[in-house]
């Protein structure tokens, strides 16, 4: 039981980070039907921006988090403007290939500027842990959980309660109808990229702190995992991405804890395949055939 609780807690903290990244995938997919393969690299950039800012200024966790989030959101908007906007009317595969290209570009540029070796992320959060009858929770895990929950509540508020959030949903449902209401679709898409990239940037800083080590290719695996989390929950559906991220994190931790960490990725894929067979639109998705 103690072992189970322990893995559950490890799984939830890791999963909440996957969820933060998955949200960006799912929001961008929802609004322009693009699988933004460069999204994992935005998360990596968030880690590096946090690293550079914290080591250069010596500032603490909150300023580092905010700077990483803001810078990432600007980068996300610029990438959308330069790489994706000109392809708005192109085929989906063209945009997808472009996204893969952007991903390589970001990775190679970071390797060029920061070097290919891993860097040690500064310790921005207090070390130490709580021991609740044998189950160990580190302060870092608590921080990660608190920060991700706050960010998700914030996101949920923006999306459901504000005018721009309403516009985001309207554009996702029917772009031309939103245009007929006077929504500036380009601005709304930019805003979506800004939001998603800010969350990825936050995830980058949190992971930097959690694992203490960052490198230019660190976005690859979590990027794929987060993408799976988004599909898991039903791509385009925000609560689905949160649920999917947590589920994947917990699955991985349990498999590592009880079986072997060698199998954790395989198990995640198997579950994904089962879900897609049983419920093709994802856990929270509605099984409607896509309009063409």
């Amino acid at each position: 039981m103690i072992q189970f609780m322990q893995q559950l807690i490890n799984g939830i903290s890791l999963g909440s980070i996957y969820a933060l990244i998955a949200l960006g995938y799912t929001m961008v997919y929802g609004i322009i039907k693009l699988i933004n393969f460069a999204h994992g690299d935005i998360y990596m950039l968030g880690a590096y921006i946090g690293f550079v800012f914290a080591t250069k200024t010596g500032m603490g966790f909150i300023p580092t988090l905010i700077v990483a989030m803001i810078t990432c959101s600007i980068i996300g908007v610029v990438i959308e403007m330069i790489a994706y906007k000109p392809l708005r009317n192109a085929t989906r595969i063209t945009a997808l290939i472009t996204a893969i290209g952007v991903s390589y570009f970001i990775e190679a540029s970071t390797q060029k500027v920061m070097g290919t070796n891993p860097r040690a992320f500064p310790n921005l959060l207090p070390k130490g842990n709580l021991n609740i009858s044998g189950v160990v929770i580190t302060y870092q895990q608590i921080f990660i959980l608190v920060v991700t929950v706050l960010l998700m509540i914030g996101l949920q508020f923006v999306v459901t309660k504000t005018k721009i959030g309403r516009a985001m949903r309207a554009v996702s449902v029917d772009t031309d109808a939103a245009r007929l209401m006077g929504v500036n679709v380009d601005q709304t898409i930019s805003f979506t990229f800004a939001l998603g990239s800010a969350l990825a940037g936050a995830a980058g800083v949190l992971v930097g702190i959690y694992y203490n080590s960052i490198n230019p290719l660190m976005g690859l695996v979590p990027g794929v995992k987060a993408f799976i989390a988004a599909v898991f929950g039903g791509i385009g559906i925000i609560p689905g991405a949160m649920l999917g991220g947590i589920l994947i994190g917990v699955t991985e931790a349990l498999v590592s804890g009880y079986g072997s960490s060698l199998y954790k990725d395989a198990v995640v894929y198997v579950i994904l395949i089962i879900i897609l067979v049983v419920k093709p639109a994802g856990l929270l998705g509605k099984n409607v055939r896509e309009k063409v």
Binding site: K163, R166, A167, R169, A170, V173, D174, D176, A177, A178, R179, L180, M181, G182, V183, N184
Partner: protein, 234 residues
Amino acid sequence: MLKIEDLNVHYGVIHALKGVSLEVKQGEIVSLIGANGAGKTTLLHSISGIIKSTSGSIIFEDNDITKRSAKDIVSYGVTQVPEGRRIFKGMSVEENLYMGAYLRSDKDGIHKDLESVFERFPRLKERIKQNAETLSGGEQQMLAMGRALMARPKILLLDEPSMGLSPLLVKEIFKIIIDINKQGTTILLVEQNAKMALGIANHAYVLENGKIVLSGLGHELANSPDVKKAYLGG
């Protein structure tokens, strides 16, 4: 109020509108009838700035809106109720209505207009928090019209509002259109239901294969042998 001159629209090689000219005067109801594929929706989308024309001009109250953005056109007072309603699924009735007021920031005015939409369509008020997707066809049409009214349009463009509705509901919708017009909103109505559309129109146009082939007073067209033969079932 709205003046379209020699408008041409292409979809790639398809020449969808071929030199269309049309005028809507303030306070009027103007109906545009035509068969499937005649180009009616294309014309409304060109006015709304969703489709760009290849040549010709669209003037609304001294503003040349031919090349303006959809957003500017809405802010000038031109709002469309699109074909097939196109309400925002997954959003509540209330949120759909607020989307109509997207460009407005006068909170009090928006609130007042919301109340008057509910007065006009009491069924929407009963379903205010309901997912718009779950409304019936007629209710969705009312929502689409209410949503457009939330923009406080000077001219309302209606694309086949009677599509798929029972005869009783069609009557109700047309009564509402007349009423909206009486309260000062100019109407450009696109319809396949020629009888009803000509019946309420001051002026009317017949569009065939992208060309205006007939125009005149509503009752004139309703009595014209050509129109009777082609659109009124003999």
